[in-house]
């Protein structure tokens, strides 16, 4: 079957890949672009391990038809760092022991980034809602919620 050429922005770089019919954005990112940060979890849109941002909004890349990414801007956990400097969310996850096996972490980070980009001062309930579509079987969620909230307090302290 013929492959389809696809162009989109990936963490601020233009990329072009070939996809097969029915490939998901997750496959395009992992096999096409070579970005292995979004994970394949359930393939059903139920676990959130594949969460990426499309034009700034959280999407599940495993149930996104690759063609739908054409011309759009995709952000993944791989693009969070700036050179050797981690994103504040990544540092917070590390400091608060928010990752154990780490499989859910890229999805959690992107779900958290989507929240903070739209709402820099979320309540605890906002954080719980924001990661409601992301399953973690290790941490019991509390360290993750605390990590995200610590970024909120830190950035508001920095502003004060």
């Amino acid at each position: 079957m013929a492959k389809t050429a696809l162009q989109f922005r990936h963490n601020d770089h233009e990329v072009a890949v070939f996809v097969e019919g029915g490939d998901s954005l997750l496959v395009a990112l992992r096999d096409g672009v070579g970005d292995h940060s979004p994970k394949f979890g359930c393939g059903q849109g139920g676990c959130g391990a594949c969460t990426v941002l499309i034009d700034g909004e959280a999407h599940l890349s495993c149930v996104t038809l690759a063609e739908m990414a054409e011309g759009r801007s995709i952000e993944t956990a791989d693009g969070l760092k700036t050179g050797p400097a981690l994103h504040p969310l990544q540092t917070a996850f590390m400091e608060h022991f928010a990752a154990q096996c780490g499989y859910c972490t890229p999805g959690m980070l992107m779900a958290a980034k989507a929240l903070l980009d739209h709402n820099p001062q979320p309540s605890r309930q906002d954080v719980v809602e924001a990661i409601a579509g992301n399953i973690c079987r290790c941490t019991g969620y509390e360290p993750i919620i605390n990590a995200i909230l610590s970024v909120v307090t830190r950035s508001s302290a920095a502003r004060a």
Partner: protein
């Protein structure tokens, strides 16, 4: 197993491709169709998609509201004029699913999913569909009854009247996990009130049959009654009549039928879940 992806600029083109090609499936936000692709579903070999922005239009200024089939659940939440649907949209999926899942797609979600369709059923919604021969409109109840034979057409939009009042339209989703979980049962009721008595009651359930269904016996039993313990008793007694819920990982057939009346009573009396 690769499938063909065909992209069209307009809905009529997509509808004619769907009706002429055996084994073609229409894709909206992808949360249902891509699930099937990932699972290795062999019942379709072609995915049909449309890039038509008009499918994402909402007209909600007057009394009658029209929502395009491509409108996402997140878009509903951003629209102040659709405040009566906010609790419904918020009860579905996590943020990512709401950024993807569409109004049209939700009408095709198998039980225990499809909670938006439950609300739309209680609001006597009309569904507009583009077939190979043109556009037709049908009551949502008729749409659900023939849903699985609806191949060859594309849902364009849904439209309904605004609820009589905020108090008259109530929605509740019972799930085991919060804030996000599939329905044990979801309930939407529209109970307009004429001098203290219910007039034109609509009661709709999700997860109580393969599609959203109305509880017609309960609706009849509620007609002309007051919303107090005595007034709702007759409706509660027949709450599960006509339902055929599945046994799945969330709940059993027996359990769903057993609790339908309990939750209906709480909704009607305005009590907490």
């Amino acid at each position: 197993m690769p499938v063909n992806v065909k992209t069209f600029a307009t809905v009529p083109e997509a509808a004619s491709a769907l009706s002429s090609e055996h084994g073609a499936r229409y894709i909206g936000g992808g949360t249902l169709v891509m699930r099937a692709v990932n699972e290795g579903d062999l019942s379709f070999s072609t995915i049909v998609r449309v890039k038509d922005r008009s499918l994402s239009n909402i007209r909600a200024s007057g009394g009658r509201i029209t929502i395009g089939a491509g409108v996402t659940l997140a878009q509903i939440l951003r629209e102040r004029d659709l405040a009566f649907l906010h609790a419904v949209a918020r009860s579905i999926g996590g943020p990512a699913v709401r950024n993807m899942g569409t109004v049209g797609g939700n009408l095709f979600a198998p039980a225990p999913f499809g909670d938006l369709g439950v609300a739309l059923l209680a609001l006597d919604t009309t569904v507009s569909m583009q077939g190979g021969y043109g556009v037709r409109e049908m009551p949502i109840e008729e749409f659900f009854a023939g849903r699985d034979r609806a191949a060859g057409s594309v849902v364009i939009s849904v439209s309904c009247e605004r609820p009589a009042s905020a108090e008259a339209f109530r929605y509740r989703k019972i799930s085991r996990v919060r804030p996000k979980g599939a329905s044990v049962i979801s309930l939407a009721v529209h109970i307009p009130n004429v001098s203290g008595r219910v007039s034109g009651a609509r009661i709709a359930y999700g997860a109580m049959a393969p599609t959203a269904i109305r509880a017609k016996s309960a609706e009849r039993a509620l007609e002309g009654r007051m919303l107090d313990e005595a007034g709702v008793a007759a409706a509660i007694a027949v709450a599960a009549e006509g339902t055929s819920p599945a046994t799945d990982a969330i709940a059993s057939t027996w359990y769903r039928r057993e609790v339908a009346g309990i939750h209906l009573r709480r909704v009607l009396l305005g009590q907490h879940a």
